[in-house]
Symmetry: C3
Subunit: 328 residues, 3 copies
């Protein structure tokens, strides 16, 4: 819509092209639809939203600072690498500061906080987050080593850092979990959803995951908000650590945030497609077989596997109900 009609009402003087598309009516109906949603959910009007592009830049900057020889500038020398890391961190923490400020505004306790106070609070969080980066890196190194010792196909650390989706997802998660703990859940969620989109691994930033965690393949993994995972745990693709039932409060709304996801103790292995639901405990060193559906606790050292499959020759399997439309 050219500038010179900006002062006209869409209904009174639609452009020729607007009339062709019937835009004025569509625009009016969309406004009505927006206003209805805003009335029920957005009593405060429009707020500045966190920016997906900025968050992408932040995560990439942090990854470069944590692993400069693999994700930093290509020509780093032993002499220049610290300067690169320092400069990258400074730029990235500055971006993070701004996104934290925006995200804080979505918390009920900061709806009415004045701008100066919100900015100071956001700075304090970003600064504290920065000091946690070395500890986050140490956890990620433990994850990378777990991948190397847990996957017979892994050739070297470089392959794992560049090609393993589980390591990618855990990089996002360990950063996001720190932000979640520091009180910026919306930003944390955004960071993990970016990894979810790229890897198919969906970890809620609230999940507490110990060192040396290895997710192999990863597509379809779901780890819920209140899950607690010990040390040296290994999970495969499509494993779910989920919730079983969602109690409602007196107002009929779901109760938010209560402990409702599994606790997985140290040294457990959970094979592809297993679904574990509810606040159950998988005892230390247990092995959960593929495709198992489990909704109760199991003691340390358990082996759990799926019930027996049924087999038969092709002609004798009347209840299968499917055929091989493409086969011999």
């Amino acid at each position: 819509m050219p500038r010179d009609v900006a002062s006209d009402s869409l209904d009174d003087a639609p452009l020729h092209t607007s009339r062709e598309w019937g835009l004025s009516r569509i625009v009016a109906e969309l406004r009505e639809s927006r206003e209805e949603l805003h009335r029920t959910r957005h009593p405060l009007g429009i707020r500045e939203l966190p920016s997906r592009d900025a968050i992408l830049k932040i995560v990439n900057g942090l990854r470069s600072a944590l692993f400069p020889t693999h994700y930093g500038a290509p020509d780093l020398t032993d002499e220049s690498v610290d300067y690169y890391v320092g400069q990258t961190l400074e730029n990235t923490l500055r971006l993070l500061h701004e996104q934290i400020r925006r995200a804080l505004r979505f918390l009920p306790e900061h709806r009415d906080t004045n701008e100066a106070e919100l900015t100071a609070r956001a700075f304090a969080i970003a600064r504290e987050f920065g000091t946690r980066l070395p500890a986050i890196r140490a956890l990620l190194v433990s994850d990378i080593k777990a991948a190397f010792s847990g996957d017979p196909a892994a050739q070297h650390i470089t392959e794992i850092l560049l090609c393993y989706p589980g390591v990618w997802a855990m990089t996002h998660h360990r950063l996001a979990h720190a932000l979640h703990e520091l009180g910026v859940p919306l930003l944390a969620r955004f960071i993990n959803e970016i990894a979810h989109s790229l890897t198919g691994i969906d970890i809620h930033p609230g999940a507490a995951i110990g060192p040396s965690f290895f997710i192999d393949h990863g597509t379809g993994v779901v780890i819920g908000e209140t899950a607690v995972i010990g040390e040296r745990v290994r999970v495969y693709q499509a494993v779910t650590l989920g919730a079983k039932s969602f109690p409602s409060g007196n107002d009929g709304m779901l109760v938010k945030g209560n402990a409702r996801h599994p606790i997985v103790e140290d040294d457990c292995v959970i094979y592809a497609g297993a679904t574990i639901l509810g606040r159950v405990t998988i005892g230390k060193g247990s092995v959960i077989g593929g495709n198992v559906w489990l909704t109760h606790s199991v003691p340390p050292g358990s082996n759990v596997s799926q019930g027996k499959v049924r087999e038969g020759a092709g002609a004798d399997a009347p209840r299968n109900g499917f055929n091989n439309g493409n086969g011999a």
Copy 2:
């Protein structure tokens, strides 16, 4: 290949570099391979293809017009928002018109339609599509509200709009389904495959899905072409609503398009990894447990869950056949 050799045959006067790579032979063999496929499948020669880039711009434009405060320009005011929506729609519908024109050419009934007629038909479809946008938005609002009331981890509408892959996929699907109904299946499929790639949620544009539909997590969800889903249905990651058998016609080719996917009635919940196949009906209010494989109808109010799992202490489970290579 520099311009000045463009008039030479690749075989007669290859460049030095071409000779090094053996390009002339590879190019000739690739031509032969192309011609073989074209003979069997492309009797009409090369047609203008829909453009992935243009389709991405269209979907992003529509998303901005539907949810301008979340996906539109960052500085919108209550006064400017309608102009933004109108202008975005105009640009987007114009792009859509062109892509519809290209896609129509792939339909058997439009192989020989003249250009003017095809262009007019494409315009009529794009215009009709535009008028459906407010109704599509209303459906999406119902989906967003269903996510808020169905997920205890959801904090607010903004989090759901920005971070929930299920909402992202349904935005693509509700737009694609309208185009599918309006007779542009190729474009519709393209739109849903873009969402599939980003979210792991694979919905065929033909699927008919009622309001207040909530897909949580979503990775691995598959909903087939002829599935019919009622109101207030909730599904989790890796749920399949698929086909069971594919009858062939007299010519040995698969019969295309017949009803072969499930009907899921109102208020059902289908947990992670459940696979429901064939034209079966899941009765109103049923709950289908995780990892279930179901190929027959169930009455309203059913509960279906997987057979009992086998459990044992580690040392006593000889048939498990796997070990914990990384564990204690």
Copy 3:
């Protein structure tokens, strides 16, 4: 960090902004963390890494050369197409040459190879790879035809080429498998992980897959390094062909590379979510049902399906343990 402080130590003369963020301490701690990992894993110091951007360009270039009417320039004519293919191949093989050179350096046998020899070896591999492209295209054409005859929703070849994630993943895999066979495993892995991220289909480049292979939907499919798949096999989303146990050597490290994934003979169909683990053989023409967990061989013509599900009316199913928090 501005240039003029580049000669100062970060600890001695931090910038004002550095002091604010506490950068000097973070940078020092990150260095310490890097040095620890490098000591154990990177005895040779920093090597030039393969570039993700370059590899993306290579795969896109190869796809354009293999399918120029679908992925090449939009204005190709029957006369110009060979020139386009030749030029695209030349540019792409040159990029590939450089990435192969970098990847070879990660192989133990090439740690000390001199640059000239490594460059010559990389050229020979890239050249041989080029000559295999027509055979790779023929395999891909067989996969595309299998998709058309195996999916009742498929309308035409163009839809399959542009919209089917299985075809996208197999394009990456057939290219990657050739590079894997030619001795460049790191590059091959990189190529398949790019497809994994886009499609949710995770195929190790080592897997040997016969012609006319069709992956429908695809999200969550995992095919391991030593899997062997015959002709005309069809698999659905979330199928795993994985390893069962990982023997360790005398040094306690995993044995790498031994045959540990399934053999799937010709004309098998494996339905959604089936998990087949270990070096087992699925006999010719077998049908494996959805969500099955299978760790032993089955003879030709087998039908294998999951154990019976348990059903009950809502009120009579006390062991289900979940409820419908959102339902009627």
